[in-house]
Symmetry: C2
Subunit: 252 residues, 2 copies
């Protein structure tokens, strides 16, 4: 399933074109179109530098004179706007918009997403070419989202909607979770050692103290290796204490 | 419910501190802490310019010498990493991490999120101070996320997790959805007009043609105003045709 086409309409800053390419590449989008870039084409060196490794998306971008031309071969078009435009069309946040885009892209459809110039956003006539408005759930007191930041959120939601949003790595599990007999044996060892040093000031408190302590240990979700490590640490502390006491001549 | 504290550890570029502040403000985060900024403090003018209206977050940031000091008063600490560190702790994507942060912040807890320096990320010893690793579901072939972009995704997911992620505006509904009698009357008008101009080449096709056409109209989810507008357009086309015909002297 190929991702949506990102269409920057009359972008002003080369850096933002580059940062857009980088944001797209972060989440696996590849198709960039530019409508009437303010500073012409190809863009200044700053755009390629800002792309930081995704400069092939910039140099491979397709350039068009109008929104109509850039969207001609697509079958679904979203217009990104920061404010209400009084146009009677559905308004979706990026998560819902990209869920819809993923459904649409499952068929023969091609999805495009329009982003307006940095300062002004899309013109109302450009918005009217789109099927759906997309907007961001920003704090209304600080709604001005940088162009590449807006693209990033869309690319991120596309990756989630297309089912590729697992973390790239997981909790390393070298030994697997501890079998309960390993955990219970560790409880017994610890309880015996605490008995040996008369830790329970009053015998009737032993049950409560040990129950609390068991629950602390349960919350650790210990692996087999974790239990071995903990037991090693406690052994070392006990034996270190014995050695110290025997060095000081007070028995062991 | 106050949002998590964003903690930039040894940030290198003033612009990134500013862009981080802007990204935080976009999604309602307010608390920024900086550990040992490379270029000292206060930051260069470029940081305030990049903050674009959120410079108060930069000037109000708290600066600390170490991660331990910056996190001392918090009760839950996430470490952001781009790669696996071989540390046996849970690994969450930003959506799950912020859902957990929102649950935690409901009580007396304070949540912090560590972000490492641009070039190297957090040191392993710094990661080991955190309860949980957070990482981004990036394309493994292009995993290098800009610092402020990483903060943006976290702020966005915080806003979603804390239940404030509705779109700031919705589809404008000036007249409300059309009552079915309005829609049926429009069907009848259209069918009668098409009858009048002998649109249905063969009478037996009328049923099929009109059924298809009704379904096209249903898919428009017309409002009361939409029906009035469409009817006005069709009236104008009919009457314009009549006027043109009468001007050309062929009746009307």
């Amino acid at each position: 399933m190929s991702g949506p086409v990102i269409i920057l309409v009359r972008p002003q800053m080369g850096e933002n074109i580059g940062m857009t390419a980088r944001a797209m590449a972060n989440f696996g989008l590849r198709r960039l179109r530019i409508v009437a870039p303010r500073d012409g084409w190809p863009p200044a060196e700053a755009a390629l530098q800002a792309a930081a490794g995704a400069s092939a998306l910039v140099t491979g971008a397709e350039v068009f004179p109008t929104v109509e031309a850039a969207a001609a071969d697509l079958t679904r078009l979203f217009a990104t706007t920061a404010r209400e435009r009084g146009q009677a069309k559905p308004v979706l946040t990026p998560d819902l918009a990209m869920a819809e885009a993923a459904r649409h892209s499952g068929g023969a459809g091609g999805v495009g997403i329009l982003f307006g110039p940095e300062r002004t956003g899309l013109e109302n006539d450009e918005v009217s070419l789109a099927d759906t408005v997309m907007t961001f759930p920003v704090d209304p007191g600080f709604a001005s989202l940088n162009l590449a930041q807006a693209v990033l959120l869309v690319a991120y939601e596309w990756r989630r909607a297309s089912g590729a949003a697992a973390a790239p790595f997981e909790l390393p599990q070298e030994s697997g979770p501890a079998r309960r007999e390993t955990v219970f044996a560790f409880f017994a060892f610890l309880e015996a050692e605490l008995d040996r040093v008369d830790y329970y000031s009053r015998p009737e408190r032993k049950t409560i103290i040990m129950r609390n302590f068991r629950n602390i240990l349960h919350r650790m979700n210990l692996s087999e290796q974790d239990v071995r490590s903990l037991r090693g640490v406690i052994d070392a502390l006990i034996n270190g204490g014995r050695r110290r006491r025997s060095r000081n001549g007070d028995g062991g």
